[in-house]
């Protein structure tokens, strides 16, 4: 198809042509970045978490006398384990995604801990059989022995005095890239060190902690025996998913009966997850809504302007038809015209999208957008343009040649 006449026609309508190009450029730029943000957030929600999310409930017991917890905790656990349907119960200092962070800087040597770039890690302390209660998936090595649980108390620095730990695969890869982590030492502060006895599948931290998604799986687990001090507040109760609600009610009743003055806060893990990601999810919906409405507005803008052009050029179209152009020729004319405008728009839009991404990287800690987002959204806008132009173009192709002979 010869594009010379189309360019000539566009030159006559500079302003509307520029407007369409600008609109498409801006839509392309916003679309790229919005879709990228949506993707990032979906990625965050989809992060794997290797515990039994469907079967776990968490009951936080607050306001008890911390001096008595050495006795209270074993008593409460024994009571919980008697509930029919409970497959495992244990106490832990905090749970994934609860925003109750227990973090520590760790390193592979005492000097390494003090380094500014040493990784900040979520530390979970739990009592015996918590591996089963959480449903941790052991990849290599072993879980803790009962001696290791019994020998570990909480020190004044909030760190257990035991000398063994389980680490997640991601943390192992971060601390000893390309090497075997089993048997190596992890240091917390400069006074505490732990031997890695097992590597477990990735478990999420209590919160993202502002260190990026890569760090969201940096968790380590330390054994602990209940002692005085109110730090073991989260009772994990695991059951089959269908028993979960019933077990949770029974567990709350038992705990309330055992500690009448306590504040007992039950929640299933699925609710913990929903709560943690509620904001992320609403941001996703908002971005989707903006994208859809924006594309609709752009499409209607193209329909409106092209309709106007078709109306203005009825006579010329009639003449072209009269001198031998087929309907297909007229249709093609408008489609090609739109394709040219869209191309100019997406070309500018891709540059703009890249610029916006750079700005967001600087000011909003956004990641670099992978290159394929650019051609993908370009194709989306090409298709959108062609669909939008189809109606007016068909109407144009239906202009009868006889129009040419009429005046006006």
């Amino acid at each position: 198809m010869d594009i010379q006449p189309i360019l000539a026609a566009l030159r006559k309508h500079k302003i509307p042509a520029i407007l369409i190009v600008l609109e498409i450029a801006l839509a392309c730029a916003v679309l790229c970045n919005a879709v990228f943000m949506i993707g990032q957030r979906i990625g965050e929600i989809k992060l794997p978490n290797a515990i039994d999310e469907q079967g776990i409930a968490d009951i936080r017991v607050l306001g008890t006398d911390p001096k008595l917890s050495a006795d209270d905790v074993p008593r409460n656990l024994a009571a919980l384990r008697q509930i029919p349907g409970v497959t495992a119960a244990a106490v832990i200092n905090t749970m994934p995604l609860t925003n109750n962070g227990w973090n520590a800087g760790v390193g592979t040597s005492p000097a390494d801990v003090m380094d500014k770039d040493s990784p900040n890690v979520a530390t979970y302390f739990f009592t015996s059989s918590a591996e089963q209660a959480l449903g941790l998936r052991l990849l290599r090595g072993r879980f803790f022995t009962s001696e290791e649980f019994a020998g570990s108390k909480l020190s004044d620095s909030y760190i257990p005095t035991g000398h063994v730990t389980l680490v997640t695969q991601s943390l192992a890869d971060r601390l000893w890239p390309g090497q075997d982590a089993l048997g190596r030492q992890v240091w917390i502060d400069k006074d505490f060190h732990f031997t890695v006895v097992g590597i477990v599948a990735d478990v999420l931290r209590p919160n993202e902690n502002g260190e990026g998604l890569a760090a969201f799986h940096w968790s380590m687990f330390l054994p602990l025996t209940p002692g005085p001090g109110g730090y073991l507040n989260d009772y994990i109760v695991r059951s089959a998913p269908q028993d979960r609600e019933r077990v949770l009610r029974a567990a709350v009743a038992k705990l309330e009966a055992l500690s009448p003055n306590a504040v007992v806060r039950p929640i299933t893990f699925t609710d913990i997850r929903d709560k943690y990601f509620a904001n992320t999810r609403s941001m996703i919906w908002m971005l989707v809504l903006v994208c859809v409405v924006m594309l609709a507005v752009t499409a209607f803008g193209i329909v409106g302007l092209t309709s106007f052009w078709v109306g203005q050029r009825r006579r010329q179209i009639g003449i072209r038809r009269a001198v031998g152009a087929t309907r297909a020729h007229i249709l093609q004319h408008f489609q090609t015209e739109n394709f040219l405008l869209s191309s100019a728009g997406v070309a500018a839009g891709m540059i703009l999208a890249f610029g916006i991404n750079l700005y967001l990287m600087q000011h909003y800690q956004m990641l670099r957008m992978p290159w394929y987002y650019l051609p993908a959204s370009a194709i989306a806008l090409w298709v959108l343009g062609q669909l939008a132009v189809l109606g007016p173009a068909l109407r144009a192709s239906n202009v009868p040649p006889v129009v040419a002979t009429r005046d006006g």
Binding site: I15, G63, G301, Y364
Partner: protein, 440 residues
Amino acid sequence: MFAYYLELALRSLKHNRALNVLMVVAIAVGIGASMTTLTVLHILSGDPLPGKSARLFYAQVDGDPTPDYKHAEPPDALDYQSAVDLWSARRADRQALIVDSQIKTRAPEANRPPLMLMMLSTTSDFFPMFEVPFEYGSAWTPEDDANRARVAVISSDLNDKLFGGQDSVGKTLRLGDADVRIVGVLKPWRPSPQFYDVRGGRFSNGDTSDYYTKPEDVFTPFYTGLEINDGNFNQFNCWAPPPNPGHLVNSPCNWVGLWVELDSAAKVVSYREFLNSYAQQQKTLGRIRYTETRLRDLMQWLDFNQYVPRNAKLQTWLAFAFLAICLFNTVGLLLAKFLRRAGEIGVRRALGASRGAVFAQCLTEAGLIGLLGGVGGWLLTLLGLWLVRRQPTPYSDLVHMDVAMFFTTFVLAVVVSLIAGALPALRASRIAPALQLKTL
């Protein structure tokens, strides 16, 4: 003349219905999106104490003697010694220590399970200094501060919950294991942000929505709070493990905030000098090592903490990009609308209308469409704000449209449509009458 243009504009609305509806909808959607995010931003970035905030200051001294890289800026909270020294020096017009902690709360009279609530331990100046409104009773006295009196002020929410909104002054509240007497009940009080607890924004990575939570439900004198909730305090940071976790008095930890009110510029200068000389003196005594101090006023402190959540700002950017797309769209459609009537405009020009008159008429039409879009945008903004209120963010209950934002909606809509209309109107006013008349 304007009335005549308006009549023409109204008349032209009836022609090209589809085109007009398209423009009104485009403006409405653009305005709706941008005003929703702008209203949220407006509410989040406001001054919590207008007229007073310039006289309130947050004092910082660096009590951490560890030699490392962190000392360019003093920490966001004070260690116990510095806080109490500065407070008891009473060099400001008013001064309040603050520290908050979680505590189990019950009312022996009310028959309901205990609650875990946030308690603010502060000093008596807190209430007049931050203009906290009272429903019943009053704040405690400076003597209560000194005597560690077992008294408390409670929030209106808690009073509703425990005492059904009745005057509960004189009644007893059990905090942890201690009984305190209620001396005051607040009116509903919801500063935005909850400015006095703001800290640590540098480390929050832009997720600062927690700065907009409700104020604490229980307020006790500073020392009273430290006594009855001993063992349950959280540090801002520690430079060495505290000997008794949760007990932070004289521990190597930063955890207390100090707000001061300074009513004149001269006092601000002299308070700065006082802070510096205190740091110097403590350094001489060997207690601290770094003498950087800060005295930021309330808004500076909020800005330093980058208190507006990053997501809210990002959404506003997005919404305005969206409005720009709607604007381009409207320019194109207005151009189509005006040029389609080239013949009519040609006749008016031939009959003596000046270019200015045609331009004014076209702009009136654009403005009218903007106004209609504004009405639609206002309704969409209300819908958008309703959606925001249903979100689980701490500030969702704060979000509403105020008078300023109501008018901004319409001003923005009309301004946007006038900007959009300017170029098409200019084109329309350039239409040569002769050429158009020939084709009629």
